[in-house]
Amino acid sequence: MVAHTGSTRSVGSTRRLNAPRPALVEGHADGTPRRVNRQDVALVREEWRIVDRWWTEEPVDRRYFDLVLETGENAVVYLDGENGAWFTQRA
């Protein structure tokens, strides 16, 4: 069982696989991403929400977006509802 999920902290040199990385995201008024890391979003393929561990001191509240950027690259980003920051992650 993993005790902490909201950070990239490690034990010794053991690391989490697929830890989220900060992303630079500009959004529309409805909260959907418009630009990711200075690249325009061409298409929002999917959107979903994860709310978990609300009973712990590290609750998870994320709004995920699976995107296609104008360059053709795929990207998954999420808005962290706990601190308002954007992250990118392979989902």
């Binding site: 069982m1 989490r16 697929n18």
Partner: protein, 135 residues
């Protein structure tokens, strides 16, 4: 000459070198050292010279003294080329040898394995850990 002398050392017990180091005392008193990790451990003098030669070209000044060190020896003494596809213990042995080469090249902690801890988790980073493998 250094390669031949190194290969004659009885401590080697037939094991081929995997990682070597060239050390030199330079004119002016400075010292210089370069390591060479072989893609495949070998005791073939020609292949060793081929791997070490380019490093000698990096000497920044004339050398007064030159030394060749074995940093690491492989465990196996040789390998027969295969006619049939390897499997079982042979395959595992090759994997171990490959992992040793990676460690020799990049140091301890260079090889990790993925350990699933909560593959069912909805939180992507909670599903698996990268754990260093030094065995």
């Amino acid at each position: 000459m250094l390669v031949d002398r190194l290969l004659e050392r009885p401590e080697r017990a037939g094991r081929p070198p995997r990682k070597l180091a060239l050390w030199a005392r330079l004119v002016g008193g400075a010292s210089w050292r370069r390591t060479v990790t072989l893609r495949e451990a070998t005791a073939d003098p020609a292949r060793l010279r081929l791997a070490l030669g380019p490093k000698l070209a990096e000497l920044p000044a004339p050398a007064l003294k030159l030394r060749l060190e074995v940093v690491e020896l492989a465990e196996s003494t040789g390998e027969q080329l295969e006619l049939v596809r390897a499997e079982g213990d042979v395959l595992k042995g090759r994997l171990r040898e490959g992992l040793r080469q990676v460690r020799a090249a990049v140091g301890a902690g260079g090889v990790s394995m993925v350990v699933e801890v909560a593959p069912w988790s909805r939180i992507p980073e909670a599903r698996a850990l990268l754990v260093p493998r030094d065995d």
